[in-house]
């Protein structure tokens, strides 16, 4: 098959979007499932093509497919922008992740969104998102990456605000867009800076310039940090992390796809995509590692105390993304992306599980659930698998990638390593806190009386969860042999058995496994068997609890103090007053002064003809005097 078919990978979902948005509303609203089928069909095709592309890339020399460009804008002597695709190993992996998770989520949504009045809108947006996300990973230059970077942001905005009649959703959507845009500002600045210094947007060219040293020094550092700021916004890293928990206002499959598996991981992908720029600047790489490491533990602390299942998962996502950044910052592309790869499956699964739970109970508050193990065994099983995976229990997928990150951070950033280890413990604790509260114990009533008894979700929802659960178990095996690392450009391979069991011969995995185990144990102690009272511990660490629960007051700081009071309420209000009374006041002042002048001079026309005569006389005298003195 010709390589041009790669275009179809992202164009198909766009077609799906176009078809649904143009033809399905408002004409065919009585066929609600059709929109979903179209989406799923297009995604299936995309997935097939992605798999094909992966195969081709694996077979291709240098793991890269040549694809012809299309001219977009050419201004001779100024700027030349091509529209092109880049299909290398990184892209191929991402394609698989995105199309696979997306497909699963869409199938799941068939059940989850059934009956929602915005059904078609939902699938249209989801198609648009998937297309954009696929295009984002395919783009061969920074500008196009930025284009789709913004597009996925838009879809995120639209889907967070999907239930726009809820003010919280609308606010969260707006917040997500603006906060990420703040990061994009740095990204765009970096693009400009790079273009200014190299005259190109092409990623491959930038790579080679960075590698040959033509692009170096502060320029490179600043460009890398700028790009990273885009990643920070998109991947909800500290300090731009505040939007992601709020983004949980969107439908849960959206959270699974966009705010767990794919879009938020785009930041990680971006850094990986531009990795040569980072790797040739120590400062940039360190920044990535430090921010990632710090975010990992920082988010985990907040995850400890949240009572909304989706929020816990959101903080866990932030934390895991921090891990990925840490991996990129200390190890390399393969390490970070490998975690991304695994994380996509188990985190999507967790969210789908949360959605399933919500479907059953009508609430997201874990304090109102409990005992669901009996009602929804499939959900329970898959959720636990995913939880174990994220916690990093051998031999589930999370274990493999997390170990690599821990190992590489120990090698280069010991302090971050300790933080990461601590995070492992916290992760285990909060994940199993959720598990025990949700599925263990007795059912505590759910969201509303009307919802009735909890029940297992329909098979259309369960099936994707099962698929993802399988993946959450096995996806890590790819790199047990070192195959993933080699595919992405470094490391050597070894036999599966050597990797699978060999790792247990090192002390580090044991350390992390023990910490994880301790975390699970503590959660078991508090929430399952109640050896320890959650309340007592809470009051013991009251200040800390409050600090975590109030999210370190970052929302307040940003929204109320910084944006609300300082900017909008302070500076902008001041400017507004200045505009009204200063600038416009001056304009109106000149006008009224003229009118007042007219009224004043008018008084001289008293109707007294001799006064008029006097003016003639005075005028003549004035002229004579002027001529005498100036003439």
């Amino acid at each position: 098959m010709p390589y041009q078919l790669v275009w179809l990978i992202f164009l198909l979902p766009f077609f799906s979007f176009a078809i649904i948005s143009l033809f399905f509303r408002p004409f065919l609203n009585h066929k609600p499932k059709l929109g979903g089928y179209i989406t799923i069909a297009s995604l299936t095709a995309s997935l097939g093509l992605s798999v094909w592309a992966l195969m081709e890339v694996m077979a291709a020399p240098g793991h890269e497919l040549p694809i012809p460009d299309i001219n977009w804008v050419i201004i001779e002597g100024g700027i030349t922008i091509h529209l092109g695709l880049m299909v290398d190993s990184l892209t191929a992996v991402m394609l698989i992740v995105v199309s696979l998770v997306s497909l699963m989520v869409q199938i799941y949504s068939q059940g989850y969104m059934a009956g929602d009045p915005g059904y078609h809108r939902y699938f249209a947006f989801m198609s648009l998102f998937t297309g954009s996300m696929l295009a984002l990973v395919l783009a061969d230059n920074l500008l196009f990456m930025y284009v789709f970077w913004e597009m996925v942001g838009l879809c995120s905005y639209l889907l967070i605000g999907f239930w726009f009649h809820r003010p919280a959703a609308a606010n969260a959507a707006k917040k997500a867009f603006i906060v990420t845009r703040l990061g994009d500002f740095g990204f765009l600045a970096a693009i400009l800076l790079l273009f200014f210094n190299t005259g190109t947007f092409d990623i491959a060219e930038l790579h080679s310039l960075a590698i040959t040293g033509a692009l170096a020094g502060t320029t490179l550092t600043w460009a890398a940090i700028g790009i990273f700021s885009g990643a920070v916004g998109k991947s909800a890293q500290f300090p731009l992390h505040t939007w992601l928990p709020d983004a949980m206002e969107g439908p849960t499959p959206v959270s699974a796809l966009i705010h767990a598996a794919t879009m938020v991981a785009a930041g990680v992908f971006l850094v990986a995509r531009c990795y040569p720029l980072f790797s040739h600047s120590v400062e940039a790489l360190t920044t990535v590692a430090v921010i990632g490491g710090f975010t990992a533990i920082f988010a985990a602390t907040m995850g400890l105390v949240m009572t909304d299942i989706k929020r816990v998962l959101a903080y866990s996502t932030i934390s895991q993304l921090g891990y990925m950044m840490l991996g990129l910052g200390t190890g390399g592309i393969a390490i970070g992306i490998f975690h991304l790869f695994n994380h996509a499956f188990f985190k999507a699964l967790l969210f789908l599980g949360a959605g399933s739970v919500n479907h059953a109970t009508g609430t997201f508050d874990i304090r109102e659930m409990g005992g669901l193990r009996k009602f929804m065994p499939w959900t329970y099983a898959t959720f636990v698998i995913a939880s174990l995976s994220i916690v990093g229990i051998w031999p589930l997928s999370g274990f493999w990638s997390k170990e690599e990150i821990l190992a590489s951070s120990l090698g280069s950033q010991p302090i971050l390593f300790y933080l990461a280890m601590l995070t492992v413990f916290m992760t285990a604790f909060y994940m199993f806190r959720v598990v025990f509260l949700t599925f263990g114990g007795k059912y505590r009533g759910g969201g509303s009386e009307a919802h009735g008894k909890p029940h297992e979700s329909p098979s259309v929802m369960v099936m994707p969860m099962v698929v993802l659960a399988v993946l959450a178990v096995v996806s890590g095996f790819w790199n047990v042999t070192g195959g993933f690392g080699q595919f992405l450009g470094h490391g050597e391979t070894h036999s599966f058995a050597q990797g699978f069991f060999g790792i247990l011969t090192h002390p580090l995995p044991w350390l992390s496994l023990i910490l994880a185990g301790l975390g699970i144990l503590l959660a078991y102690a508090i929430y399952s068997v109640k050896w320890l009272s959650a309340e007592r511990i809470g009051s013991m660490f009251k200040p800390l609890y409050t600090l975590f629960y109030r999210k370190y007051w970052f929302d307040e700081l940003y929204e109320n103090v910084f944006v609300g009071k300082a900017l909008v309420g302070g500076l902008f209000a001041g400017l507004q007053v200045f505009d009204t009374y200063g600038v416009d006041g001056a304009v109106n002042g000149v006008a009224s002064a003229t009118v007042a002048g007219g009224r004043a001079i008018r008084k001289a026309h008293t109707g007294q003809l001799q006064l008029y005569g006097l003016f003639i006389g005075i005028g003549i005298l004035a002229i004579i005097l002027c001529l005498y003195f100036f003439g």
Partner: protein, 486 residues
């Protein structure tokens, strides 16, 4: 002596007398209008025949028959014709003196024609007084309190101004021993003066003449009579005053200052500067004070003070430019022509509207856009022209006159002038606003006679033509500006 060159003036004088005599014998006074118009047309015919010929002077070099004079004669005749047409409604309300009215209009037109042509101080003075006295009477023609008051103010101040003018003429005459403009110029150059203080007598004479003529053209600070007289005078006469009398003043100033005081250079720079300053003050003052006016005639009075300011930009340009450069003069002529059409159009519309309303208050014009859309449209066009916006004549006139000023280093004056145009938009548009936005006080239509409509359409047509294809009239003005006898 070549008396046929005097034919336009003779015709007009003859028709004036015919009109008076006719008034005594006929009952249908409408014929007076026809006869007056016939006189104007015949005179204009003679004038046109003479156009383009070589410049000559008759009456012992006292009367110039050059294109400059002919241009103004045509202008005055056109104005007179339009005023006569516009007066029809007004005059028909008089029971007596209709003949006298038309005769005086013709006589004053005659005076103005002579003003534009005379090239000798005595004749200038007499011509000026002929115009003035006719106008004094016309202003007081209504004999109601306002009209007579206006007339008295005009007369007393006019007389003081002409006394001042005479004193100036006396000094100039005393200094040079001549009264003929060309000879005065020669005498001044022969004396080869070196500066203001070398000849204070001459300078004082010039200053006093500026004051005397300045009164005619409503230059600040000799302008105070303008609003009062404009308000009190019969509206057609206000129109007449505002365009014809002013144009005549400019004609005479141009001729006197260009011919007699054009050289030496420092002298022309001096009076050029003087006009420039007067222009700046005049337009600012006129525009600013026009803003709070409530009577439309009075407002247009102030507006005409401001317009005189713009016109004086042209005079200043003449002072600043070398003698061979005609742009100052020709732009002045073009401005006068377009200003005349514009103001006549505006006043004609006002006559029609005020006739119905019996009021000159701007607020009473409310809703005219509904009651008399075409009248209101015409008035709007004229006001737009007065602001100096395209596609009306005022735009081209300003462009032309300012272009001359910029050419001769008067950019500062042009900047003041253009800012003044902006100020003027404010009060002109207020009238527009009242007409189109206000609610009409009644639904009654506003009637107007055919003559009036004719005058209005002619003016508006002229305004548009001069605004869109001004080339031809500009060419005329250029030719006129070039052909000076002295």
């Amino acid at each position: 002596m070549n008396l046929e060159l005097f034919l336009p003036e003779l015709t007009l004088a003859a028709f004036a007398i015919i009109v008076i005599l006719l008034d005594l014998v006929i009952q249908r006074k409408g014929w007076l209008v026809v006869v007056s118009l016939a006189g104007v047309v015949v005179a204009a015919g003679f004038t046109i025949i003479m156009w383009g010929g070589s410049s000559q002077a008759i009456f012992n070099n006292m009367l110039a028959v050059d294109n400059f004079a002919l241009f103004f004669k045509l202008l005055f005749l056109a104005i007179a014709a339009l005023v006569i047409l516009a007066s029809v409604d007004y005059v028909s309300k008089f029971t007596r003196f209709q003949g006298e009215y038309h005769a005086l209009v013709l006589l004053s037109a005659l005076g103005m024609m002579l003003m534009a042509a005379t090239a000798e101080l005595i004749s200038i003075y007499i011509a000026l007084e002929l115009t003035s006295i006719s106008l004094y009477v016309l202003v007081g023609f209504l004999k109601d309190p306002k009209s007579t008051e206006a007339s008295l103010k005009y007369l007393l101040l006019g007389a003081v101004a002409s006394a001042v003018l005479l004193f100036g003429m006396a000094l100039v005459f005393g200094f040079t021993g001549k009264t003929q403009l060309g000879e005065i110029a020669q005498a001044i150059q022969a004396l080869s003066l070196s500066g203001v203080l070398a000849s204070p007598g001459l300078i004082l004479g010039i200053v006093l003449m500026i004051a005397g003529f300045g009164f005619k053209i409503a230059a600040v600070p000799f302008h105070m009579w303008v609003p009062d007289v404009y308000e009190g005078a019969p509206t057609p006469i206000t129109a007449y005053l505002s365009v014809a009398s002013k144009a005549a003043g400019f004609a005479i100033i141009l001729r006197v200052f260009y011919s007699a005081f054009g050289l030496p250079q420092w002298l022309s720079l001096d009076w050029g500067m003087l006009f420039a300053v007067l222009a700046a003050i005049g337009m600012t003052l006129g525009n600013v004070v026009a803003i709070p006016q409530t009577n439309i005639k009075r407002m247009l009075g102030y507006s005409s003070i401001a317009q005189a300011g713009y016109l004086m930009v042209g005079l200043a340009t003449v002072g600043f430019s070398p003698a061979a450069d005609i742009v100052g003069r020709s732009s002045l002529l073009f401005f006068l022509a377009s200003y005349a059409l514009t103001n006549l159009g505006a006043f004609t519309a006002i006559i029609a509207i005020s006739n119905k309303l019996d009021s000159d208050l701007i607020q009473d014009y409310s809703g005219m856009g509904k009651r008399a859309p075409l009248l209101a449209l015409a008035l709007t066009l004229c006001l737009i022209s007065l602001i100096g916006l395209p596609p009306a004549a005022g735009f081209m006139a300003k462009f032309y006159i300012f272009s001359g000023a910029v050419q001769h280093g008067l950019l500062w004056l042009v900047v003041i002038a253009v800012i003044n145009s902006v100020i003027s938009a404010y009060y002109y548009l207020r009238v527009v606003k009242v007409m189109w936005l206000g609610e009409p006080a009644s639904e009654e239509k506003v009637p107007s006679s055919g003559a009036l409509r004719l005058a209005l359409s002619l003016s508006c047509l002229g305004v548009l033509l001069l605004g869109i294809i001004p080339g031809y009239i500009m060419k005329l003005a250029e030719v006129a500006a070039k052909m000076f006898v002295f």
